[in-house]
């Protein structure tokens, strides 16, 4: 009975740059998915679920659970193997293009290379009242054991809080000569965060043109790869730490070290 079977590793013995999802065996491609279709429960609904699974590339797909919700909806859980390959070489990673600095290094860089303190303005714009995220970055208390930007001696931080309108923010940035404006957006329903960010970028462009401050946005549902698309300089996603942000500010705003 026992015999030896080819190992399922893909891409040979090499770097393994092509992978598939892993259930319990290399290369099995197994995934789980769940969704609701606006169809009453029954064989037609199950068929519809299988059709969707197939379009998602799951084949063979098993509808392992279905349950009616209300009058005309059915919830499904589907398991199966996706045929897609994941090409790791093609993965676009928003790599950090700057070194991660300690608070001391940030302060030193600002002090010696900028020769004045850096003015940072933070806010949560629109009707979004979630301040915990921006507070985590800015306030002394910080996040994940790291102190917030207020702790940095050479950063001059003002946190305007939440529900700040874009015109108010532009006004404040101008008044305080902000080097960087940090904006948080947590509510994402109907892409509110994307709309608000675009509005922010447009308003600053209009009001200040080339001399606008550095625009940084953050929030748990942002994709860091979207900065250019949104018209801002940098986007931070879930789990960002203050140190990452401070390091980026140095990278973006402090002149590079002159070659010795």
């Amino acid at each position: 009975m026992p015999e030896t079977r080819q190992n399922g590793h893909l891409g040979g013995t090499g770097a393994g740059s092509v992978v598939r999802p892993y259930g319990d065996t290399t290369g099995d491609g197994m995934v789980q998915t769940s969704f609701t279709l606006p169809v009453p429960p029954g064989p037609r609904a199950e068929g519809a679920a299988l059709q969707l699974a197939q379009k998602m590339g799951i084949e063979p797909a098993m509808v392992v659970h279905s349950a009616g919700i209300g009058e005309g909806f059915t919830f499904f859980v589907v398991y199966g193997s996706v045929r897609h390959l994941v090409d790791l070489d093609a993965v676009q990673v928003e790599e950090r293009a700057y070194p991660l600095l300690s608070p001391g290094e940030v302060n030193a860089a600002v002090k010696t290379r900028l020769r004045r303190s850096l003015v940072v303005l933070g806010a949560c714009i629109g009707t979004d009242a979630h301040t915990v995220g921006i507070d985590a970055i800015l306030n002394l208390k910080g996040f994940a054991g790291e102190k917030g930007l207020e702790y940095y001696r050479e950063l001059q931080v003002a946190n305007l809080g939440a529900q700040v309108s874009v015109p108010e923010l532009v006004h404040a940035a101008r008044a305080r000569k902000a080097d960087a404006v940090l904006v948080s957006q947590v509510v994402t329903q109907k892409d509110a965060h994307l709309r608000n960010t675009r509005e922010l970028a447009a308003a600053f462009r209009e009001a200040m043109g080339e001399s606008r401050p550095l625009l940084v946005v953050g929030g748990p549902r942002f994709d860091p790869a979207m900065a250019a698309d949104l018209g801002v300089d940098k986007v931070f996603g879930r789990g960002t730490t203050p140190g990452e942000v401070a390091s980026y500010l140095v990278h973006a705003l402090v002149p590079a070290e002159e070659p010795a």
Binding site: S34, T36, I69, E71, T127, A162, V187, T188, Q189, K190
Partner: protein, 523 residues
């Protein structure tokens, strides 16, 4: 259900201190009015609709009229005197509003007999609104008698939040059919800061649906249908909060809503609304809720999203005592006090579940007759929806073990999206399993005197009394505590925040027919 043996002397002391700490707020509310309180008078008198000309046709007539009165004679006397005086020469409120729109209305403050006459007319007009609220309360009693109340405690409370009343309705009905006893339609992110109440059926909210009279009516009608279908009266909840808290309370009474989120401090802390504005508005809205037989839900749970649930547990207790005091003062009975608290301890903390039980039992012991509102984990939910589903199950269990009154159903997608149809369905299945399988486990639950749970509850109570001592000792009491960042580690100065310009110190002859009529009952 197992109760803790609380130190009754300490409990009495806590209530006494809460009364002292709240006194400056009671005082404020007695001596001020706000534009929203004044607009609420007109709403009770039946003024509806918007000025079709101004600002995209969104500005309600009540705003136009109150603003006009303010411009012409100020609000220190209240709107009722000038408005019903203006009406003494004939015409309806609606006609008067049209004149305001046309710029032809002229307001003066009547005196002597003219004032008496205006007051009487105002009482009649506003009384009609209150009569409608009374009729709704009677109708609710009738429907509850016909359809029946939920078969057990806690009541199962679910939110809908699509932003579109026409998506909300089928989702709410589906939730009721799947076992929800209470449906809350949460509000669009922007609404609290609007200084007017939108009108009509709306479909464009963000992360919530606008609270409008028409949306209230549509949803209540839909739930009446489903109540009849299910043979169980399904309650409807909305939010009497934000800059229009008094008006929303009135609309809730007029459209037979059954519960309202209504906290003395939520708007101050989480919406940066001016403290005085909020304290005045909440007094009025609570009187309306008292009359309407509406259960209020307070918002202590929110503190634990910004503050640590273990370190700051006592601030929840302090706030509950203050909310209780301010509610009693406004005429609410104990059965109407859905005091808030939440399952928000970091699940990674050792013994987190037992700490939750201690906190929940403390609230239960302090407020034995209040239908406590028990909120699910939110802060420590993550995108790991499986873990989230488990946590919600333990939250449900804690609710059953500690005799909570209103169980706000947690969603596995809490950290991801506003709830999907399927999230709600799964969440209700979770609740049903826990209550049916382990709902009576409280019979076997007997925290030992001096044991972990008992000790923790007493620690929190002692910390709460200590904090109350400090608050009560300050002449500004609660107002100062808010400025100090006591609740939700958020500091709010008495003269900061939005909406202060809508606050007016009452003149000696200020006349507020609604308050007068509402105070009559509990005086």
């Amino acid at each position: 259900m197992s109760r803790l043996q609380l130190d009754q002397a300490l409990v009495a002391r806590a209530r006494e201190l809460a009364a002292r700490a709240a006194a400056p707020v009671v005082d404020l509310a007695a001596t001020h009015t706000t534009i929203s309180v004044e607009r609420a008078q007109l709403r009770l008198a039946g003024l509806t609709g918007t000025d079709p000309v101004l600002g995209d046709g969104e500005v309600p007539w009540v705003n136009r009229v109150v603003d006009a009165v303010r411009d012409q004679v100020g609000l220190q006397h209240g709107v009722a005197l000038p408005v019903w005086h203006a009406l003494s020469s004939g015409g309806t409120l609606a006609d008067l509003a049209e004149q305001v729109g046309a710029g032809t209305a002229r307001f003066t403050v009547p005196e002597g007999a003219a004032a008496d006459q205006a007051r009487e007319a105002a009482r009649t007009a506003v009384g009609a609104g209150i009569a409608r609220i009374d009729a709704n309360r009677a109708r609710r009693d009738e429907l509850v008698a016909t359809h029946g109340d939920p078969p057990r405690r806690p009541w199962i409370y679910l939110i809908v939040a699509t932003g579109d009343i026409h998506e909300d309705i089928p989702q709410a009905q589906a939730a009721a059919r799947a076992g929800a006893d209470v449906i809350a339609v949460i509000r669009s992110t922007g609404q609290s800061l609007l200084d007017y109440v939108p009108e009509g059926a709306t479909r464009t909210g963000y992360a919530g649906t606008y609270a409008t009279q028409e949306n209230f009516r549509l949803m209540r009608a839909a739930l009446d249908d489903v109540s009849a279908e299910l043979g169980r009266y399904v309650r409807l909840t909305n939010y009497a909060s934000g800059l229009c808290m008094p008006e929303i309370a009135v609309l809730a009474g007029l459209e037979r809503l059954d519960m309202m989120l209504n906290d003395a401090m939520y708007g101050i802390l989480f919406r940066d609304i001016n403290p005085i504005r909020t304290f005045v508005d909440q007094r009025f809205s609570r009187m309306v809720h008292a009359r309407a037989g509406i259960i209020i839900n307070t918002g202590e749970d929110n503190y634990l999203t910004t503050a640590d649930a273990v370190d700051e547990a006592h601030t929840v207790t302090v706030s509950q005592l203050l909310n209780e005091r301010l509610a009693h003062e406004a005429g609410l009975a104990d059965w109407q006090l859905g005091l808030g608290h939440a399952f928000e301890i970091d699940p990674g903390v050792p013994e987190s579940f037992r700490l939750e039980l201690a906190h929940a039992l403390l609230a239960r012991g302090l407020f034995p007759d209040a239908p406590l509102k028990w909120m699910p984990p939110t802060k420590h939910m993550t995108g790991d929806v499986f873990r989230g589903y488990l946590l919600d199950g333990f939250f449900n269990l804690a609710g059953a073990l500690t005799g909570q009154g209103i169980l706000l159903v947690g969603m596995m997608t809490e950290a991801v999206v506003t709830p999907w149809l399927s999230d709600r369905d799964l969440a209700l299945r979770n609740v049903r399993y826990v209550l049916e399988a382990a709902g009576n486990l409280h019979e076997d639950f007997a925290p030992q005197p001096g044991g972990f749970i008992d000790r923790r509850a007493h620690t929190v109570l002692t910390e709460a009394v200590d904090l109350l001592e400090r608050i009560a000792d300050h002449p500004q009491g609660l107002i100062q505590a808010v400025a100090d960042g006591t609740f939700g580690i958020t500091k709010r100065a008495p003269d900061g925040g939005k909406g202060l310009d809508g606050v007016v110190r009452k003149a000696a002859d200020h006349f507020d027919p609604a308050t007068e009529l509402l105070e009559r009952i509990h005086a």
